[in-house]
Symmetry: D2
Subunit: 338 residues, 4 copies
């Protein structure tokens, strides 16, 4: 019997990516999809790439009805709204993977400072597992609610956390310069993400003020066991998908790039998607996949880490399915080897 | 003394292109710019590529005030709204280049059928010069109002009109398959022109129903002296700028591609921007310029015409400045050789 | 037990796409890969997107050795060279899917006229099944050698053949205007396909002279039972993948677009990948998938057909795996639902 | 009378950009163009965007003949080869702007270490003016030979040099993360810059080992009067043109981003192309222009500088024409306001 999956907030790119990936998942099927804006249509009418493949009607969100139909719900709602719905769904007895930032951080203060809203379910902040199976597979297995990681944080936590844990790099001098494809900005109609605004152009945004900065710092701290200081600058890059994070760190003691690579190899030996590589990875090397490629280079007294992921796959919907696989006792890679 | 130019509806891509081109025009300067949405800002705040180069405040549209300040006004308003404003401006004694379709067609019926609005100044339909100096330079010279051509029509009328006039091709079997960059769709916030919707994708739209189809047919008829039947399919192409029109025609008598090329060479010998070429032109060959490249190929009993323009330059703002040059007695190429 | 697959000529984009698709195929595995240029490397060194996923050493092509190892070989060699190798492989007892054009056409004269080489295995021209399971599944099932279809032809034969077969459209007035992503041009170092040559640009090429034109005409004739006259113009479009074919046909009798759509629906009711749709398909709707979307529109006395495929998937490697599935008694969709 | 310009090595993108910019230059004209590979063709045959606009025959390089024809020569040859030719041209009495790195560095040792060749004209290293008129206009005015700056260095020296000179930032902790369009990689046939390799992808390259790193450090030292330590990571970005440099610096004393901006405003008050801006610049804001936009942001104890240029214009050919303007007593902006 297949896992029954619901998608809440089905109009965006992460929802489409969930649907795309579940098309070929042998043990799961989409049984419900909701959208306030598109009620009455079908999922394939909103996303014509699903035409002839999926025939799920879009319905209004009714937590009770959805919970009854679904073994697990992917919540693609915006922050704030998502926490509220997750609460209802969990209370109705279904399990939830939450794509929003609502349950990622360690505490309410940090969340409310960066997100500027009152948290609708504060009891669960700091008590909800962060959906990186590379570190938290056990807790994910039994979770009723999983906080699916942010896209940029995934590309930063995976390379940094084991290095901090082992003291191979200095904790107080970390610069993260990330480049993301445009799908990370979502699918709502905004002049800023029109084709002719961002095509043939690269730009920094949210310098030192992006909400993923505290998430990175918080998680590296939790996993690595040491508070870190990190400066994060994201850039909007003219491509659909992909994140490349170039991370400037100072080695501790006499650690070299080779030492870091070796550390990753041992850390991630049993993690099917994390691939330390000798070459400099490009986002194309991981496009459309759940894989993570990362490398390290000695340069001018620092070490430069480069990590590539697909922001929609491992950075969002692929990770969600990986989490679902863990939650339901499947192999992590089920349906994700494409 | 420089020509004083006003831009009405200054937030879009054609307005920006007018500003870009006038930056280096030796005989003209922008003295006014209006936008209802952006009143109070400066032109460079809306279009940051003008930062440090142009310092024109955005004002609300007041036809009397604008007419007083400007020798010529570029109206980048949408159809319907544009005609109304053009009327006021012309009545106030300034000259106008109208980017909208309001004065392009031969008669009111055709306009109202395709545009679905009552024309605000019907006396001027069919009595306003069509702004192709390649055919109408004399009338443009003295015009108070010029109907700036549509982008697709420019790429079709220039190759077809002289061939129809000379009877080199059949008038009743013409297929136009055009490919346009995304800037042709304008700068308003729509999901359909978000980067991630159109990037890495090509699609047809408005098959046989695009408003530029009657404009092409009407103008080729007026210039060539013979009614034509034409089927037009535009395609949205993942690039900022450029139109490539591939036109399938049947030769009359025994005309060959070489004959057609020769005809163009003689027709456009004194037209500085129209360039018949032996190679198959790409949109990149004319990107950012006011030039038109066109060629012809014999194939399977038909002749295939290929014409490349920049939709924002010769397809809109470059043409407008070319028209302005003619209106004010300057060489057509002034400020347009870049 | 898994089907053992070999890839001959493993450096190009179609080879990489075969590898990408076989990653998640439940019943097949790559056991050999050859390349003259890259002997001694591994497949993942040539294609870094496979790093950590596939560990197949590149070897020199030795037909005997490959045939022994493989149940089926994907030949990604260029025409001429491919036929020679296919002959050896088949004679050694392995089955082959040939990506080249060597066995696609009905007869040797047509082949040698358009390809300008003497055919190395003329006995098999006209006697090798054309790898469109939508029409030839039975023959493919038992084939030792399958001629994998050309990318453009796939996007043209699928919509046209049933319409010609039923006499719904005129056979002597068909214009095909196709737009392809750049991967169709292959992966060899040429100035013409450098990023800065083709990015932000669209251009026609090979007008009326492209080798896929006779393939389209030949196959529509064979399937539809009537000789056709067809003019084909391909265009290079600034995107990695995808083909959109816009096809201008004249309806016979009183056929309408709706009739054509109905015809397709019945023709392809049991073909899992062919999807007649009401909307105008874009290449993005099928990107990375083996699906085909097609629609029809009445316009100006003609009917405009629009068909979208992914040139690397259904246009090459996806089709090859679909063929392999049929050859080995698997469901056509196995490993291809992504 | 117009300045007579020759272009040596006319097949590449910088040569085309020189030609494009000189099209509309009121005081200069191209009188000669050379290329070993394309001898016998015309410039417009190599670069079809010049068709109908420029009619310069390509000739073999003969320094004596070129020197006789030209007031100034733009040398677009590769390093090593360029120095040799520059020597001949200067000795023949013509003036030269050298696009290669041959005369940019302060001394022969540094050059030979990073470029791995014996310098063909070592007497002139350290004695040739660096072509940044923002700092060296006086020396450029009288120069027989100008070392045109590297693209990346231009985007780094302009923001950094005045801050180092004034002690506003620490000299020993500077990280430069740059993103460049693909045209910077040149126009020779290489798999690595094929469309399908770099499209939809971003990647770092040459981490800490790019030849522009010593150029940046050397020039900031020369202009700012203090040795600096700088780590440079370039990234290949999927766009034709543009460089965005994100520079991480530590403020000295209590300098803030606002102080740095103020410093730039005073430094560049008389430099027509350098524009400190309040917004975060994108490469699109300066695309196709000679302008430089730069800003600064306080973030986490550091200041993040962001500088955008067009790599082909201000990063190469625009700078060369700006230098030519200075050399011939013209206003710096002549022909460069587009």
């Amino acid at each position: 019997m297949k896992i029954k999956v619901g998608i809440i907030g089905a109009t965006g790119y992460t929802a489409l990516e969930v649907a795309r990936l579940l098309q070929s998942h042998p043990n799961a099927e989409i049984v419900a999809a909701t959208s306030r804006a598109e009620d009455g249509k079908s999922l394939a009418e909103i996303h014509p790439s699903l035409a002839g493949r999926l025939d799920v009607p879009i319905e209004m969100l009714d937590a009770q009805r959805i919970a009854k139909k679904c073994d697990v719900v992917m919540s693609c709602l915006p922050h704030g709204a998502s926490a509220e719905t997750c609460k209802q769904l969990v209370e109705q007895g279904t399990r939830v993977v939450d794509f929003s930032a609502d349950f990622r951080l360690s505490n309410r203060e940090l969340y409310e400072k960066w997100y500027g809203v009152t948290h609708p379910w504060p009891e669960r902040i700091g008590k909800t597992v962060y959906g990186l199976p590379e570190f938290y597979a056990d807790a994910i297995r039994d979770a009723d609610l999983v906080a699916n990681p942010g896209c940029y944080p995934t590309s930063v936590i995976l390379p940094l956390a084991p290095l901090i844990a082992d003291g191979l790099i200095e904790a107080d001098d970390i610069i993260v310069d990330s480049k993301s494809g445009v799908s990370g900005a979502g699918r709502s109609a905004k002049v800023a993400t029109l084709y002719c605004e961002v095509n043939e152009s690269i730009a920094a945004y949210g310098v030192g003020a992006h909400r993923h900065q505290p998430e990175m710092a918080d998680l590296v701290h939790r996993i690595g066991g040491k508070a870190i200081s990190l400066l994060f600058t994201p850039h909007l890059t003219p491509m659909d998908r992909g994140i490349l994070s170039t991370i400037y760190v100072r080695p501790s003691a006499k650690a070299t790039a080779a030492d870091l690579l070796k550390r990753w190899e041992s850390q991630y030996a049993d993690c099917p998607f994390v691939t330390p590589v000798p070459h400099l990875p490009s986002t194309k090397h991981v496009a459309g996949t759940n894989y993570v490629q990362m490398t390290a280079r000695d340069a001018g007294g620092r070490i430069v880490l480069v990590c590539a992921i697909d922001n929609l796959a491992k950075g969002a919907s692929g990770a969600a399915i990986q989490n679902m696989n863990v939650m339901f006792g499947l192999d992590q890679t089920t349906g994700l080897l494409q």
